[in-house]
Amino acid sequence: MSTEPLPAVRGDLSLGVDVGGTNTDAVVLDASDTVIAHTKQPTTEDVTGGIRAAIAAVLETLGGRRAEVRRVMMGTTHATNAIVGRRGLGRVAVIRLGAPAATGYPPLTGWPRDLRDSVLAGAAVLPGGHMVDGMPISKLNPAAVGAFLDGLEGPVDAVAVCGIFSPSFPEQEAQVAEIVRARLGGGVPVSLSQDIGAIGLLERENATVLNAALYGIARGVTDALLTVVQEQGLGDAAVYFAQNDGTLMALDFAARHPVLTIGSGPANSIRGAAFLSGAENAIVVDVGGTTSDLGVVVSGFPRESTLPREIGGVRTNFRMPDILSIGVGGGTRVDPATGRLGPDSVGHRLHTMALAFGGDTATLTDAAVHTGRAGGAPDWSVDVAPATGASLEKALGRAHEWLQESVERLSHGKTDLPLVVVGGGGFLVPDDLPGAGTVLRPAHGDVANAVGAAMSLAGGRAHEIGTYEGRDEAVAKASQAAVERAIEAGADPLRVEVVDILETPVSYSTQQTIRVSVKAAGPLARLGSRDSPPVARA
């Protein structure tokens, strides 16, 4: 292998795609992470069309350099939309290990009935599982697993397995996966809870079942992306999916863990915006037509939520960025009489309905134009009666207050964190927002999510429970598992490192125990450039 570095600008382009509900964006970054092509195309019903249009547009900009695209990374809200819309979900057989414990709460307890009916192929709570100290609750009974599988009626698209304390004692779930493969064949995928979520049985089980139900959807999206990649002659490029925490998954990992893409849209936006602004630690606000979505980036990673998250009415505890959404957007209605904000928005009809565009609906955009805050568009004007003008001013003031409250809520008291503003409604955020540090408005902020996808790292997280005395050992074990998971997700084994360690004390026991949670991440291994030597990154 040659150690001679090639010029960094050649042969090492990353193409990022973000498939949202409205738009499909694409960008191309060069080896120094500079945006050299970008586009915004409408998302199509079949997904493929929008991806095709977006990728074709940026490749056209690249011209002769299209052959230098080495990596394609995608972020999408497709899985989220499938759950929320109950579309295209598979039927899942659910095996919980731990009986007689947890028999008081059958699997899928608390799910909306229609979602449960469309997903559940059958469920059983069977012997197995562990106590917090590793004591088996009961012995795994392979025959009982077999009998449950034999007794299933109707089609089964996937199997979900969730054992009590399996994140700490994972072998048993893997054993059950073997039994399932032996009975149902390798064609029925098995989703294990240890790969999906943290301690919290029902939430982790829910996420595992959703993951199993999303296999078909995931295949559809990965196939769409691969089809376009092949069509466009990018067959040599490595293809990745972005996950909730702003790190990437190799395609085969993504195909097995589709639920981990559920928060990737906002995660990419946060990472991309922070990156474009140059800030390692920042608060990011993405101001759209309907909402402002705020998140925090810490050392380049989106901060994760510690609260259980609901998706489509189902409580889950998988990794999600800590996002605060508020009803402040460019299309947010303003009551011209009182100045009351929203609650609804005119959305994509802003350009016909708002006063500034000749319509008859007062919006926050009009308030910004009226007060001269809209910047950049000097020809806009809003001609209103003084009373309406006062209402608009009041509404904008309220929007600023709301943004300020949200920034304070996310900043945990650090008033010097820069505030990165992206999105079409960014002018709603004043440069002197109290509670925020410097306000940054990076170029290409409108495609921050695709940028985020294109420059993400590969990462993995693992958990351990240990005694206070055995804390160091628990951290070491969790770190090793996290590093292995990051490498499995595509990270370069030589450059992967531990980036986060969380410790939670477990009270009310004579033996003091703690739970540690470790995250590891690293740049992607350059698997896509197998016929060329490693390329130094600027």
Binding site: P100, V132, R409, S411, G413, S509, T510
Partner: protein
């Protein structure tokens, strides 16, 4: 009129129980799902007032015991309530007719309704605390001096212990040992003879939790609805500006500082907490202390925020209201007054309607330095 609890009441019961949890008592959501499912399956349960008990009645007093962090992962067995009932009837020789919650605050205030549905028993409209407390000794039955020398414990795999302990201190010690052996989680029960119930329980707390929950969930202004229904004072509306926690002897101790917003901008309150919110201070003066009740709620939704979920920047309202008179007796304060939690301050009964500082005991606060307003 006899009333029943239906699955429609469960969200209100859960929200109300969280309010009475005073920051502790564990998350109510999992119980909420289980109880709603049990009521759907077995039908509504009858809620009986203390005055409706006859000499033939006997009450099983139940609670889940253990580490909340374990409780979210290792959930109870469906068999445990039946096991406890069977062993308690065998050991006591009595036929049990109703279930009472040991504590109305938090998850233990919700679960017993589902257990009653499953067991075909009534629910007694009362509990042992009127709130949440961290120890099994901190119950009204102990204040009243009703002997509780018979306890049954059951773990998730089916082990059962029938204990006859000499006093509450030994009871606490043995319960802990059994809980740890069973994976830091067990279900426990004691028994109350109908004749011993009056004066040894906090009455009306189940219907009150449901009422409070309904009022809050249906309100335009949830905080005002809570204040009205609970007869509680809103001590301050503000935002959290500091949260500090430390672990001492297996318990989480800490404090949270709330800065007033709007017209109350100049105020700074500190809430001292362990598993529950225990003492509220302003300018070095004690505004409220345990056993009176203090709950931090989300200023917008009114939902109670448990101590482990308090975060910088949250908009909160601090509610305080009076405890049951039983806790204000000499014996009640000995068991659950400020000194029982390690605070060397005199107890001054909290009276609703008082929001400004100054009326509380000025001579107190020796272990706690004043808020730095």
């Amino acid at each position: 009129m006899t009333r029943h609890i239906t699955s429609d009441d469960v969200p209100a019961l859960a929200a109300g129980a969280a309010i009475f949890g005073t920051g502790g008592g564990g998350a109510v959501t999992t119980s909420q799902f289980g109880v709603a499912a049990a009521l759907d399956l077995h039908g509504p349960v009858r809620l009986r007032r203390v005055g409706e008990l006859t000499p033939d009645d006997a009450v099983i007093v139940m609670a889940g015991i253990g580490a909340p962090t374990v409780g979210i992962e290792m959930l109870p067995s469906a068999e445990q309530p039946e096991t406890l009932l069977r062993e308690m009837e065998r050991a006591s020789g009595r036929r049990i007719t109703a279930v009472m919650a040991t504590e109305i605050g938090g998850t233990n205030g919700v679960g017993p309704v589902g257990w009653a549905a499953q067991l075909g028993l009534d629910v007694l409209d009362a509990d042992g605390m009127g709130r949440a407390f961290p120890e099994a000794t901190m119950v009204a039955m102990n204040v009243a001096g009703v002997p509780r020398n018979l306890t049954v414990l059951s773990d998730v795999v089916g082990n059962v212990t029938v204990m006859r302990t000499i006093d509450a201190t030994w009871l606490e010690r043995h319960v802990r040992a059994f809980s740890v052996a069973g994976g830091s989680l067990c279900l426990g029960a004691s028994m109350l003879d109908a004749a011993d119930v009056p004066g040894a329980v906090i009455e009306g707390t189940v219907s009150r939790a449901i009422e409070v929950g309904h009022a809050m969930l249906g309100a335009q202004d949830p905080v005002a609805a809570l204040s009205r229904t609970l007869d509680a004072s809103v001590l301050v509306n503000g935002k959290i500006v500091d949260v500090s926690r430390r672990t001492e002897g297996g318990f989480v101790r800490g404090s949270v500082t709330i800065a007033g917003t709007g017209a109350e901008r100049d105020r700074l309150l500190r809430v001292e907490l362990q598993n529950e919110n225990l003492v509220v201070l302003e300018d070095g003066e004690v505004l409220v202390s345990v056993p009176d009740l203090v709950t931090l709620v989300d200023s917008e939704t009114g939902h109670a925020i448990s101590t482990e979920l308090l975060r910088f920047g949250q908009r909160v309202s601090v509610l305080a209201w009076a405890c049951d008179p039983l806790w204000r007796t000499e014996r009640g304060l000995e068991i659950a007054g400020p000194p029982a939690f390690g605070y060397d301050i005199p107890y001054v009964p909290f009276e609703p309607g008082r929001t400004a500082p100054g009326a509380a005991g000025r001579e107190g606060a020796t272990t706690t330095s004043g808020a730095t307003a």
